[in-house]
Symmetry: C2
Subunit: 409 residues, 2 copies
């Protein structure tokens, strides 16, 4: 969940604790139109099928095992299902390349634990998923700018990390319908990233949280698929760790995610998990496996239709209501539209005002930048918004931005 206190506290010098408390209260009001949470719509959860799966697991031959301790690498039939699913997007792997975690967030923590020592450098996009920064920050790394793409010599990444007292340990990205920008990396950008990773010999963390949520345009091969193509389709020679999750497709409340990677890194991650929390919930892995087997494609189709419609509505509303000087992305999938406000406008101040006078919530963009830049950006999520919420909310927000722009002029 969003750490709102932190979001507001980044402007600490200008906002009193009492004012922050007031805003936090406002956020909880039922009349607030929220484009804030990057969460799935509860109405799309396959609730009946999940209930059926729990009942079946517990009444069947697996019932005892479902409630018992289990192995750290994860439930084998679920790993087998993932192997099959991966092959559909160009990733050839075996069960020994698949490791189940408690959501893909846990994987980001484990990858931080495995690779980062204090003062090492992680390459991330600017902006990037704030949860990744949160996970990595525990290991006190520095960050260097991976994207926007540049003509930087590969050696400069190494030199800069060395100046800061460590090494470049990995590149992290969300190539599909990026959180927060909604942008998808082109095939050329993915190849550029793999070139860079090869040249400076680092792994690539491919956070594929939104992979299945494409609503238009042509799909691009996952980075791991391109990596495989470079290595004779031998996953043991690849350097990309593909992080998947059921949180955006089936249900986040069961906390099941996975990684696909060479078996050497999988073995190391399994040892980390064994020491850190033994294993992910046995019964939840069985239930996710059962539900995925039965209705994954159907569920994806349902989600695509609903979110795709909301994305379209939001982009149409933006076109109608946003004043000149405001820019935004046109994502082909995912949950987010990324808005760049006129220069000098502050996303957090706008949110404070918007909550009070417009009753509209969103996330100020600053929290997604490793260096705290990006004050004039905001993230809008359309995943839980109805047509009316979108039309009313974007109209109000456009009006407020126009008024602030006028006042500043």
């Amino acid at each position: 969940m969003m750490d709102w206190e932190k979001v507001f506290a980044t402007r600490a010098s200008r906002m009193k604790a009492s004012e922050i408390r007031e805003l936090l209260k406002l956020l909880e009001q039922p009349d607030i139109i929220s484009f804030a949470g990057g969460i799935p719509d509860v109405n799309l959860f396959p609730k009946a099928e999940v209930a059926e799966a729990y009942a079946e697991v517990l009444s069947g031959a697996q019932g005892d095992a479902a409630l018992q301790y289990s192995v750290s690498e994860g439930y084998k039939p679920l790993r087998d299902w993932i192997v099959g699913e991966m092959s559909r997007i160009g990733i050839t792997c075996k069960a020994e390349n698949v490791f189940i975690t408690s959501g893909s967030q846990q994987l980001l923590d484990y990858l931080g634990k495995l690779f980062l020592s204090k003062n090492d450098t992680a390459l991330v996009t600017w902006p990037t998923y704030m949860g990744a920064l949160g996970a990595f920050n525990a290991y006190e790394p520095n960050y260097d700018k991976l994207i926007p793409l540049s003509n930087r010599e590969p050696q400069t990444y190494i030199d800069q990390a060395s100046e800061k007292g460590g090494q470049v340990k990995f590149a992290y990205c969300v190539p599909e319908f990026h959180n927060p920008t909604g942008v998808t990396m082109t095939r050329a950008e993915r190849e550029w990233l793999l070139d860079l990773a090869e040249k400076i010999d680092i792994p690539v963390i491919e956070d594929a949280a939104y992979q299945s949520l494409r609503y238009e345009g042509e799909s691009v091969p996952p980075i791991l698929a391109l990596d495989l193509a470079r290595n004779g389709n031998d996953i043991e020679k690849t350097r990309t760790f593909y992080c998947g999750t059921f949180s955006k497709t089936l249900a986040p409340g069961l906390r099941i995610g996975w990684v696909v990677a060479n078996s050497d890194v999988v073995r190391k991650l399994v040892l980390i998990k064994q020491a850190a929390d033994l294993h992910s919930s046995t019964i939840n892995q069985m239930v996710i496996g059962k539900v995925a087997e039965r209705l994954y494609d159907e569920q994806i189709a349902k989600i695509r239709k609903t979110y795709g419609h909301r994305r379209k509505k939001m982009l149409e509303a933006m076109d109608r209501h946003m004043p000149a000087g405001v820019d935004w992305t046109r994502p082909e999938g995912g949950m987010f539209v990324w808005v760049t406000l006129p220069e000098g406008m502050d996303g957090a101040s706008l949110l404070a005002q918007s909550l009070k006078s417009e009753r509209v919530a969103f996330v100020p963009g600053k929290a997604f930048f490793a260096d705290g830049s990006g004050a004039n950006t905001i993230r809008l999520s359309f995943s839980c918004a109805t047509d009316t919420m979108i039309e009313d909310g974007i109209a109000r927000l456009g009006r407020l931005i126009a008024a602030q722009k006028k006042a500043a002029a």
Copy 2:
């Protein structure tokens, strides 16, 4: 689950990889009588009630929320239930003092993350729960001997840690029916520990995994209860973190544990969890809460009866079958009997022989010692053993030990 490869590899110089592989295969044979796993008996799981709770949660008003993301500190009604349960064992706290984790193993990892830097010292008992060593080892600490109790001056702990380049960060113990020894700390020992902790100003981690599993004798107040008594019953002034789990009482497969502590440390742990895996499974927290509310006492009574009977049977069999020169503990609860073999006998060698000729498995004690001592100890678990398994297994083991003793004489 037990990392058997590691257990055997501690004797690496004397055991070939092929021999280890052979033993690992033997461990999986269905005719092996196992006293190895420290796991609950699947036959005692409240399977029907768990199934009913899943069905209720998913069909009721909570159904949507059960599948959605939730807060990092844990599901409030479950935390409220824990507050009530804690008050029954002398611990007065509020919901803000309770934090839900994915099993208590996760808490050990988080406490390591929060407190330990490389070269710091953790005080642990000799032997101690090997999973705690596993969790802490990720943060590269040193260990100093907390118990057996000694007359060491408190300052010596500080000095020794300082010589090793760090500070003493906490004391960790399993006061009730200790894993692996089965021993319970007396009230005097607990007070001694709190005295020490106060003098050198460190927190105490009270791992209460087996708290409810008492089969005879008088219960001793939890360390946190004694700490509260020293501090006017104000939990905010205490230094003890009480770690509980549903894994030994309801079911480990749902991965739900908790900590009770002052709210300052709880807040820090919540932030760690937010960055590390967001939150524990929402639906599993709801289900555990429902099941606990309905049948916790009944379930505890059932477990006590069964495990208590097995403990008695095992101690009787030990009395009958163990040769002179073998010592063992007489635990008042928990799952384990701790055996000290005649001096010079090696627990891992004994296991290798026992698997081959006697078809009996147990855990060599070495893995429970931070310094790899304790070669002549083994841990026997009675939690999953039937009367026949106990009688046959202990008889065979006693015979083997007697034969080895004779051969060595």
